[in-house]
């Protein structure tokens, strides 16, 4: 029996260089897992591999027991906010509807049930009242919630979040952190990359430290006590501010 997301001994080569090596990670339904590592550790590459956008050089990725490939509605994906064209003249509801593009056939227009699904997704992230607003007029936190709503509209069983807290103030991070935890505890498998150590330690059910491979994984309490794992992951010494943050946490 494997988790909703099962990364089994995966290796990934990009540009002739091994970016991920022997990565093993499972995320169960109902679980929020934080993926933490330094810049260039391969966090986004791992998410892209789970999405089926990158073919692994070794190992395999299973989502709900089936090989990962693009278009599996079982996975919802929330990209980094700067990857999205926020200046595009489209409403919040219009953005959420694009989450159904692949499931609607060519030339088909959305029907009432699709708008209903969009409304439910927006309601879930508490953005329904802004459904008609142009996305360019939203704040950073609202934008993040719109992307989450778009990822939810196809009712996926797993969610992948790529650094959702970047550039957001602390209250907004807390709000989103609670939302992600709730989404997981409703029965989804949620895997989130983040640089926000405190947020991850506070909100995630489990944390995986990644630097080309999974260096360590465990509950926040277990990892907070494992200073060596953090030092190995980030390549820092005993005097690093990172370890002081861990201690304070």
């Amino acid at each position: 029996m494997t988790g909703a997301i099962a990364v089994q001994d995966v290796a990934v080569d990009l540009g002739g260089r091994r970016v991920l090596d022997r990565v093993a990670l499972e995320v169960e339904r109902g679980e929020l897992v934080g993926l933490i590592g330094p810049n260039g550790a391969g966090k986004t590459t791992l998410l892209r591999t789970v999405l089926g956008l990158i073919a692994p050089a070794g190992g395999r990725v299973l989502v709900d027991g089936r090989a990962a490939r693009p278009g599996r509605s079982a996975i919802g994906y929330v990209p980094q906010r700067h990857d999205f064209a926020w200046d595009f003249p489209i409403s919040v509801a219009g953005v959420v509807m694009t989450g159904l593009t692949a499931s609607l056939r060519l030339g088909r227009r959305p029907r009432a049930e699709h708008w209903q699904a969009a409304a439910e997704a927006l309601e879930r992230v508490r953005m329904l009242e802004l459904a008609d607003r142009p996305v360019g007029q939203l704040s950073g936190g609202q934008r993040q919630r719109v992307l989450v709503a778009r990822s939810l509209v196809a009712r996926p069983s797993a969610l992948l979040l790529d650094e959702p807290f970047t550039g957001l103030d602390m209250p907004t991070q807390e709000l989103l952190g609670r939302l992600f935890a709730d989404l997981a505890h409703e029965g989804r498998a949620v895997l989130m990359t983040t640089h926000d150590l405190l947020g991850a330690l506070d909100g995630c059910d489990r944390i995986a430290l990644l630097n080309r491979t999974i260096v360590a994984s465990g509950t926040p309490a277990e990892l907070a006590a494992d200073r060596a794992a953090w030092m190995r992951t980030f390549g820092v010494g005993e005097d690093s501010a990172l370890l002081r943050i861990l201690k304070a946490a």
Binding site: P89, I90, T101, L106, Q116, Q137
Partner: protein, 295 residues
């Protein structure tokens, strides 16, 4: 200067039969370019629009030399160049704009070499580069109208896919949307819009029909649907006024249309677009039944 009434009389004058045909082609081209141009502007594809505009030239030249169908020739050349750009852009060592720069200049050069084989090519070259409102055959009206309808129908049918890949290509790929093929489809539509517009406005200036009306519309609205209506309307209005002014003052038609469109763009830019935008956005909300979540 002619009065509008005199211009109307000239349009109805049987001895000036080319004039209403030129007007019809200019307006149809502007409508189609305005609609396609929406995505060109929103995706920051002005350079590829320029590239496609130039890339159709060898196809037009071949069709001209062999007395073939200009629309077909231009489309084939434009699509071949678009495919070459899409394929060569897969190499990550070079950015897409460099690939476009290589191919569109090469295509244009090929067009010049080919058309030089035609006797009296200088006049033909002038016509291709800057457009001409005389000598438009009736068959071209039909070709432009049918091609335009095909382009608009395709835009309508592929609307949600074009929006999805314009917003965020990585997420579109993750959803299983075939980004490469929809990019190619958009390039083909741009190519078709360019080809049917070359007759009136010329190869050099056709980019203005794609970009300027849509860019002006973008200044006026934050709604994609409104923008897709405003862009063609501004383009068609610019074509009408441009043709009128060029006919009145014996100015080059293509250049005059572009200058009129540019003047409208500048007026909108200098004016207070936020006020107009607010007016355009004051519309009834989406029907409650469509966006009410279950209790």
């Amino acid at each position: 200067m002619l009065t509008p009434a005199q211009f109307l009389a000239d349009l109805l004058n049987p001895d000036l039969a080319f004039l209403p045909k030129a007007l019809a082609i200019a307006v149809m081209s502007s409508l189609i370019c305005g609609a396609v141009g929406t995505f060109v502007v929103l995706r920051g594809m002005a350079f590829i629009g320029d590239a496609v505009a130039h890339a159709v030239f060898p196809g037009l030249a071949v069709a001209f030399v062999v007395s073939g169908n200009l629309v077909l020739g231009g489309t084939i050349a434009g699509v071949i160049t678009a495919v070459l750009v899409a394929v060569f852009s897969q190499n990550r060592r070079l950015k897409e704009d460099s690939i476009i720069g290589v191919f569109f200049v090469a295509a244009f050069a090929l067009g010049i070499v080919i058309i030089a084989q035609a006797p009296g090519y200088a006049g033909s070259l002038q016509q291709f580069l800057f457009g001409s409102i005389t000598g438009i055959p009736d068959s071209d009206l039909v070709v432009v109208a049918v091609t335009g309808l095909v382009v608009l129908a395709a835009l309508f049918a592929l609307h949600k896919e074009f929006v999805t890949i314009s917003l965020d290509r990585e997420s579109a790929r993750a959803m299983g949307v075939k980004v490469f093929w929809f990019d190619l489809a958009l390039y083909v539509l741009v190519t078709l819009a360019v080809v049917i517009s070359v007759q009136t406005i010329g190869n050099i200036l056709v980019l203005a029909l794609l970009i300027t009306p849509a860019a002006t519309a973008r200044l006026l609205t934050d709604r994609l649907g409104v923008m897709m209506l405003l862009g063609p309307a501004i383009g068609a209005g610019g074509a009408l006024v441009g043709l009128y002014l060029s006919w009145s003052w014996a100015l080059p038609t293509g250049g005059t249309i572009v200058l009129v469109l540019t003047a409208v763009f500048l007026l909108v830019w200098i004016g207070r677009p936020t006020r107009v935008r607010e007016l355009l956005q004051r519309r009834p909300g989406r029907p409650a039944r469509t966006l009410v979540a279950s209790p």
